[in-house]
Symmetry: C2
């Protein structure tokens, strides 16, 4: 239970983060990690005529608050008998569903709802649908079963240590009880529901109260509900965000929801008014996940991953049209393409237009044509089209044709990913079209798709006769003294180098099979045949690298590399997702058979199962393992190579879930880069990419 | 030299804070203290054909930046030979002028300019004047005298550890070289001036550079200038802020400058284009202060106080009309009235319309009519008009008639200040009118002024026959179990209790004399006579409290109080400022004579001079002393009671300046509440109020 979870509206790049005991969280707008607020949620008994018992609160706060008082009075306040008690976690059960997060302690419960649903293209939505779908609000519920109780119970929901003092919402809207920070976020209950609201420099030991019992200078506030003895009650609380005006540079955009919501109060009123709709929707999502044949660890991983994905989602409008962004977790890069390709499957299931939207922006603004080179930088010849690694960072769009990440003269982290992003555009575009049936979209991009095929071939070799089926020419953007890398930028060479890389080679093979189908669909028989020929060449080239002695592929087909990697099969996710993997297996039996042997031998303790923890390792030679890619590899292996799964490999979901549920990772909600032995976070915290785990729900 | 200084544009509620060695600062928008950025300013030699020497930078940064790199690469970088060297402060001279702040280290200098000028009412300004006056920009200059040098010198200005990655301004405007954080702040040089610009995850050991030599993911960036051997160069850098849209709640307002500036780039271009204008203006202000007969400590206190005042200033527009705010330093309360009355003198000298603007908002929205009570809460009778303590906090306006500060049922900090704010409105309004000659303004508020007089009298006693000349009835807003306090909220009872308080009594006496003159000016002879009678009564009442044995007044005329306070004479600042103090002395010789004896006896070590430090103490019984009020008392004493100043009292300016220049206070720029013996900050940090020291410049 030692983990934070991001509770995030769709497309608001905002999270209400809660869950790690003893740690703060709360409302965060566009942050790289959890916010720093106390969350106060709990109850106390109020015996008739007597003093209330101390508050018992879920342990999501740090106390005391004496500094806030001392700043005004110059004195430290004495310890108080009103100090709230943190509920012992041993007496709490927590259940994280796909769209709910529930803590239960005896008759008390807190539930946070972050429902999501299938979403039509925002530009086609009517206003009511848009408000329901795009409202930047999540939902809390406090409940208490006091049917057996003899004393009244008060429930509290509040926050503390906000960035500056909170304001009572009642000062703006008499239909809202709660508090907001300026115009940016707030929590609200229905006035008829509440028994009171409190605000104090120290919420539990307020040095002062005004005529309303509040103190408007205070960074701590809450709403109180009453549950009479003999009754059972549940109260909704809306948790809203709002950011107005232009929020991005380079490409000026504002939040799409500002079309439909005037301000924070509008959001909160809507959230409360439609609470039951959202609760039902969240429960529907939960039920779907619960009904899946997955085990509890797998379900939890999917739930937590989906929550963090939504926290990075950002739907903007540019010239009144939708512009889709997924931010890259703690790094906050805009639409990192090697994440887009991983979010693809989840997005196609829920908001498929988002994929097309991002691909279009890559075409329009983040496409470039490069020269290519051999290692060492000579010769340099015409390359072809590709796409940038990302579109900018933290609401700052980069200039056309340039990413915020890629730098020159490097062989490791921050180098260019030209090959990989070219493959990613092909894989995303063709998969998008096959899944959505949007033939017109592809028709309009036929010329580009042909150019992509040409560019991909030239990166094998610009001279047709020299092509081997492996990508060997780096982009000249790297500089003569640089070389391309892959998305696995912080790993060792086994996954770091793009050239002659097993992962890239199989993914390129998959891309050729996708292109073959796409060209056929466009009626371009010649191009389809050529793509098939390229696929054949790639399949043979990869298969030829198999080392029969060890029964494994090397990770890199250079310099006697002996690393073993699980992403050997990553590229097969596209045929699998589109339902033609069986057909491919029949066509390329040798490749599939060798990949099966590779995976069986790789999925062994000490190779690609961590010898200490049992976690899957994406490379045998790096202890930095990435959960998003593990989830993807698991999916491919389970569906296409189930024969390779031994008991140890099967047992790893529990290991992965437990790592994410422990504080080193749990303090950042979902974490991608993890030390496979120790479970320490290495990077990619608060991260969306692990939503690849939703592939496991594919029928 | 151990102090931060706020460099702030007029009315932008923003500061570029710099100066405390080893501590970060930089660009802060509406913060309660210094921002957390590294500031990189310095130079290095670049011998022809050789490697550059390490950067030598003023010590306004914390290093190294390995964490930023490790977040991406998962690895800590090795220590580097490019680590910049912090210049030893012993080799630096710093001079803070009224509008400049200059560090000189041999041939190198950094100068920050925050010029201010007389400002006409913004609603009447033409566009060019408005842009010159209201631009949210301050100015830096890097200079190097390389006339004797044999190697070229590079100069660097940059920042680091910003809240998120910076963006190159050149991507938006080819006329700007520099970097910005989103749309909110940035620094810019003229493209023709720079020799380069750098941006890196670690500015001095960048793990990666892109095709431009930058890395757009980075929170560290700078511009580089070249000073060839044999030359002397100076380069301007504009430091701009921008905040668009509605930024306040309760009363929706946006920054006034948004009328005249489209965005941050507009601000920075303007700042660079008009740099020489601003530099000349800053130098003019410096020369004025330097030409004053004050000593170096006094001049420094004025300079530092003015800088912090400007940092809290905020000019907004509400329905297209100017709305003036001074925020209360670290507390960020809006137009705290007991600060307004202290800022009055400075504002009347530079932007007098601001006083009227604030008074009007108090009348329109923050006026109330109360009931009043005797101690203990009975009886409760009709009171009169008064005004709230403040108008809200941190861009959140409170509802009409209510402050963010005042609470009920208290006798100390956070209680109501009804008497004091009533007196403050009278003092501000009458002083404003006398100083500006704006008779029409007072004419329109004649009824209110009469109501204020009535309200003030009723707080002596609601029954005319019982009036004694001292304020004894508290506002019923305090509750039966509460009592009013004064602005000196965190002091002991000597200044904390309003009722029967010497400070309040003398200030009320002054208010009556002001009312007498105002009513006379309005042609209300009867009211003027009545005000004079009230002044007479007050003067007698205070004089009667003099204790001939000790030669001192008690601070509170109750319960045998024996505290001694310097604000005994605070109220006389108004007659002094308006030039009729001599007339009053002739009229009330006994009161003046007794106040003289009081001050002479109070200004003794162990009474109101701290026995350890020599600092002035505003109360003999509290070690919490306030520089704003010391400055005010010093002014009154020097001009009206110079005979009371012994050598120890005279020597205190050096003590006060040294305290503010030492780290306990210096880390928060100007601090008001200080421990008189230790110089530790107690409260009121980053504070505008000490601008009262500008009274010393009165002719």
């Amino acid at each position: 239970m030692h983990y934070h979870t991001q509770h995030s509206p769709f497309g608001a790049f905002a999270s209400f983060t809660i869950g790690l005991p003893g740690q703060r969280g709360g409302f965060g707008q566009s942050l790289s990690g959890p916010a720093g607020q106390n969350v106060y949620a709990g109850f106390r008994a109020v015996a008739a005529g007597g003093a209330p018992a101390p508050w018992k609160l879920l342990p999501f706060f740090e106390r005391p608050q004496t500094a806030a008082v001392a700043a005004f009075t110059g004195e430290n306040t004495a310890a108080s008998s009103h100090e709230p008690q943190a509920i012992d976690l041993a007496t709490v059960t927590r259940h994280l569903g796909w769209a709910t997060d529930t803590w239960t302690h005896g008759p008390f419960s807190l539930r946070i709802l972050s429902p999501f649903d299938h979403i039509a293209h925002p530009d086609t939505m009517d206003r009511d649908t848009a408000r329901l779908t795009l409202a930047p609000v999540v939902h809390a519920e406090l409940a208490y079963d006091n049917t057996q109780g003899s004393a009244a119970i008060e429930l509290l929901f509040g926050i503390g240590r906000t960035e500056h003092p909170l304001r009572p919402l009642e000062d703006v809207s008499s239909d809202l009880s709660g508090f907001a920070l300026g115009q940016s976020y707030g929590f609200a209950a229905r006035p008829a529901d509440i028994a009171g609201r409190i605000q104090g420099l120290d919420l539990f030991n307020p040095p002062a109260r005004d005529h309303r019992g509040l103190h408007l200078l205070s960074h701590e506030a809450g709403v109180v509900f009453l549950v009479p003895a003999g009754t059972r009650r549940s109260f909704p609380v809306a948790l809203g965000f709002y950011q107005s005006g232009i929020v991005t540079t380079g490409l000026p955009t504002c939040y799409y929801y500002t079309k439909f919501f005037a301000d924070l109060e509008d959001v909160l009123l809507h959230g409360l008014a439609r609470h039951s709709h959202y609760a039902a929707l969240a429960e529907k999502r939960d039920a779907e996940l619960a009904a899946s044949p997955l085990d509890e660890h797998q379900r939890w991983l999917i739930a937590q991953a989906t929550h963090s994905y939504l926290g990075s989602s950002q739907l903007m409008q540019h010239k009144r049209r939708a512009l889709w962004i997924v931010n890259e977790g703690e790094y906050r890069m805009i639409n990192t393409f090697d994440l887009t390709v991983d979010h693809l499957f989840f997005e196609l299931a829920w908001w498929p237009w988002a994929v097309g939207n991002t691909l279009d922006l890559f075409v329009r603004r983040y496409r470039y044509t490069d020269k290519i080179q051999r290692p060492g930088g000579t010769p340099v010849v015409r390359g072809g089209v590709s796409f940038t690694h990302d579109m900018g960072v933290m609401n700052q769009f980069t200039p056309p044709g340039r990413s915020s990440y890629e730098c020159d003269h490097l062989h490791g982290c921050f180098s260019h990913m030209t090959m990989e992003q070219l493959i990613n555009w092909i894989c995303c575009a063709t998969t998008y079209v096959e899944k959505t049936g949007d033939a017109a979209w592809l028709q309009a991009r036929q010329k580009l798709l042909l150019a992509c095929a040409d560019s991909l071939r030239r990166r094998d070799d610009p001279r047709e006769t020299k092509r081997t089926g492996l990508l060997k020419w780096d982009s000249h953007r790297c500089g003569a003294d640089g070389g391309e890398i892959t998305t696995y930028d912080s790993l060792d060479i086994s996954l770091g180098q793009a050239r002659n890389n097993l992962y890239i080679a199989v993914k390129a093979f998959a891309a050729w099979t996708l292109l073959e189908r796409a060209f056929a669909g466009l009626g371009l028989a010649g191009a389809a045949d050529a793509a098939r020929a390229s696929a054949d060449l790639a399949a043979s080239a990869v298969a030829a690298q198999f080392d029969a002695d060890t029964g494994l592929f090397p990770a890199v087909f250079e310099a006697g590399n002996r690393s073993r990697i699980l992403p050997a099969v990553e590229g097969l996710v596209f045929p699998l997702f589109l339902g033609y993997a069986g057909e491919l297996r029949s066509r390329y039996p040798e490749l599939f058979s060798k990949l099966s042997r590779h995976m069986a031998n790789a999925l062994q303790p000490g190779v690609c199962l961590d010898a200490e923890s049992g976690a899957w390792k994406i490379s045998s030679t790096s202890s930095n393992t990435w959960f998003s890619k593990i989830a993807l590899a698991q999916h491919v292996v389970r569906r296409l190579f189930p024969e390779t799964l031994n008991d140890a490999a099967r047992a790893a979901d529990a290991v992965h879930a437990k790592m994410q549920q422990s504080e080193p990772l749990g303090r950042y909600a979902m974490v991608d880069q993890v030390h496979s032995a120790t479970g320490v976070s290495i990077g990619s915290r608060y991260y969306p990419r692990i939503v690849t785990a939703c592939l496991w729900l594919e029928p």
